[in-house]
């Protein structure tokens, strides 16, 4: 029997058609993947199923019966529960309070906390969720918070669970735990809709995939009959390569040298402790390391966002240590920041305005005190076309763009200023395969144009594919330099964990 059937769903928002005649058919007891790039309309479709949006056209059948889902409460009554990507949890409340909110068990008008806690514990045990009913949300890990979200739906008797990109926020072993939980749920007869753009996860746990692209229904395939490459091309609409084509690097003059710098983190503790590094024109240096070993502080120090306590940063033979960020930017540093929402864009400015964040006060964008909008607009238009930033127009707020397009915008701005040295910090974080491929190609292109590039990433695979040299950072120092062509993943792993090259590994 079909647990859910959505037929010809169309939803329009001002300026875009988010869903255009989408079909979704999910059988009872299966894990069904909903695959699509960021901005393809997955979340819109699921918000319709969950009653947060009303479709403009189309029909919804739950267990074969046509229904109108006018709100989350109605969805709940139909047995539909959503595990939100951005957790819907009240931080100062306990686990139990979050779960019972809206349908509290009472005795004489008072909340019966003891009974609620028992019930929560019972459900948690049944599905192996390992949640402490009395813990406060703000004190528990992200993984446990997610399990609370799952519990919320189960407590309300959900039979159909929607997981909205559940693995995006999890560490690798937490993902393994989640997969076990999902398998337990299905064993107990639940149906799962799994929204994702990660192909590996689909291949690992899903039974059937529905693919949507730019709001349109593309296809429905059994996982057993397909593979990652075929799924990727259906999702993106063209063939995607998972390997990066590049010629050998032709390094030239030394562009950047860092000499023995020390930088403190925001708590005043040394995060970078006497680090040395050189980068030449025409090469990509990959900075590998476990998160929190001083990568972010190093980059913020180079770009002037953090104070260098001692040591020197030299660009093209000139000291740029502790200059103002603006001066450093204009002396030839491009920066694709780690957090594109906080540091990369002014989200409420238009994408056009975001294109001139560093150059707005220079000719031709400004004459004296006044901004020259015609010049800004024509410049932004050119960048957006050249770098294929998909946006309704240049006046759209940056906030409204998908992550991949926001990142393309930032890269356009940074690259077009033609800096000698480009920093790319986690340039593909949270992006889908199509967008990642494009960004990788841009970085190689810049290298071949003779830029010096520092690539920071927590994805070892990405560092591996792009870098000409890999510097492994550990506790604020370079633990070792390796050549990606002649090193194994294990060797880098050991350096990342703090074992120096040549020292013996003891357990």
């Amino acid at each position: 029997m079909d647990a859910v059937e959505m037929k010809g769903i169309t939803k329009r928002f001002p300026g875009i058609v988010a869903n255009d005649g989408v079909n979704l058919k999910v059988k009872q007891g299966e894990i069904h993947a909903l695959l699509g790039e960021n901005g393809a309309g997955k979340s819109t479709l699921m918000n319709i199923l969950f009653g947060l949006y009303q479709p403009d056209e189309g029909k919804i059948l739950i267990k074969g019966k046509e229904t109108e889902i006018t709100g989350p409460t109605v969805a709940g009554e139909l047995g539909i529960g959503m595990v939100h990507q951005h957790f819907m949890l009240v931080d100062p409340f306990t686990v139990t309070e979050n779960i019972i909110l809206g349908s509290e068990p009472t005795t004489n008008g008072m909340i019966n906390k003891r009974r609620a806690e028992k019930e929560v514990q019972a459900i948690s045990d049944r599905y192996g969720l390992k949640v402490d009913p009395r813990a406060k949300i703000r004190d528990i890990s992200v993984g446990m918070q997610q399990r609370v979200e799952i519990l919320k739906t189960l407590y309300r008797g959900a039979e159909i669970l929607i997981f909205d990109e559940p693995t995006a926020v999890l560490a690798p072993q937490e993902i393994d735990e989640l997969i076990v939980i999902m398998e337990n749920l299905v064993k107990e007869g639940k149906t799962i809709i799994f929204i994702t753009h990660k192909l590996k996860e689909i291949m690992r746990i899903c039974d059937v995939v529905t693919i949507i692209r730019q709001g349109k229904f593309i296809g429905r395939v059994e996982v057993a009959d397909t593979d990652e490459n075929r799924l990727a091309s259906m999702m993106v609409g063209r063939d995607v390569s998972f390997t990066v084509d590049k010629k050998p690097a032709k390094p030239k003059d030394k562009i950047l040298s860092i000499r023995d710098i020390r930088v403190q983190d925001s708590r005043g503790v040394d995060a970078v402790r006497g680090l040395n590094m050189e980068i030449k024109a025409g090469e990509i240096v990959g900075l590998a390391g476990v998160d929190g070993n001083g990568q972010s502080e190093l980059i913020e120090a180079i770009t002037g966002l953090k104070k260098v306590q001692s040591g020197e940063v030299i660009l093209n033979g000139k000291k740029i240590t502790n200059l103002k960020p603006k001066t450093i930017t204009h002396s030839g540093v491009g920066h694709i920041p780690e957090d594109r929402h906080r540091r990369g864009l002014v989200l409420d400015f238009s994408i056009g305005e975001n294109m001139v964040l560093q150059t707005f006060d220079q000719k031709p964008f400004a004459k004296g005190w006044s901004l020259q909008y015609p010049a800004i607009h024509s410049y932004a238009k050119r960048l957006i076309e050249e770098f294929d930033v998909r946006t309704p127009d240049i006046h759209t707020p940056a906030r409204a763009l998908s992550g991949g397009n926001q990142q393309k915008g930032i890269i356009a701005r940074e690259v077009d200023r033609d800096p000698d040295f480009l920093i790319a910090a986690q340039p593909t974080r949270g992006l889908d395969v199509g967008a990642i491929e494009g960004i990788h190609r841009r970085l190689i292109e810049q290298r071949d144009k003779g830029k010096a590039i520092l690539l920071m990433s927590l994805e070892l695979e990405e560092i591996w594919q792009l870098s000409d040299h890999i510097a492994v950072i550990y506790e604020g120092k370079i633990a070792g330099w390796v050549d990606p062509a002649s090193t194994t993943e294990e060797e880098i792993g050991l350096l990342m964990a703090g074992y120096r090259a040549g020292t013996e590994v003891t357990s």
Binding site: Y53, P72, D91, F93, N98, G102, M110
Partner: protein, 311 residues
Amino acid sequence: MIESLTDILATTVLYMTPLLLAAMGGLFSERSGVVNIGLEGLMTIGAFTAVVTTLETHNPWLGLVTAMLAGMLFSIPHAIASITFKADQVVSGVALNFLALGVAVYLVKSLYKGSGQTPDVQDVLQAMPIPGLENIPVIGPALFRAFPTTYLALIIVFIGYVVLYRTPFGMRLRAVGEHPQAAETMGVNVYRMRYTGVLISGALAGLGGASLSIAIGSQFSESTIAGQGFIALATLIFGKWHPFGVLGASTFFGFAVALALKGQLIGLTTYVPSEALNMLPYILTILALAGFVGRAEAPAAIGKTYETGGR
């Protein structure tokens, strides 16, 4: 000396009462996520209504009831503006303050032949000694010969605590003030909860105003409230948006007022000029509002408008 202490203590309790009532009102509003700068205005309306009702009916208890109703009525524009129309909550609250004062002063002038204040109320609330307890030395006369409004305020603190922390209504109200999206996905009606919070704040602030005009005082003029609503707001913040915290904070501010009024009894004025003592409650208010205390405890969604299904 003992007598002076008792006097200061009694004054503390006296001035604690209106602050406590209004701050408890603010608590309900702000816990639901709506800032209520308008407490001052709501107290003004409550104080005015209580006086007029008591003058007309000679029944101060009826005065308390109408003050609550008037406060509730006057909080409706704030609720509509800031919840339904998503206006800036601070601006809407400030507007409410001006409106309330303007309306009250205008009505006083038109009702009482152009006078700037109402006639004196003869039938004000009388202190209500509690037999037995009132005879405890020092604290007896200070705590147990208080006005009925004081006892009422203390009862409201306890009821407020139970409602907010033990009932489904209270839990939903707090959830709406912390994370309205989460509450809505759980089937809680965010708008209705916020309206309820603001209306309760109107009723309690109105009652607080009445305690100033027909218990502590006996008439209404432009200067009856004189900033007490803002001090109540500071009390709320200083009390970390918690009923018992608010009780402690209002006692503290009440004590500051008592020192200003009765400082010379214990010889404080020989060390500190009385003008400086008079400033004390207001300086403490500025410190509290400037965020020296308790900011981190504020409801997370306070001051943020909410739109159903917002993207």
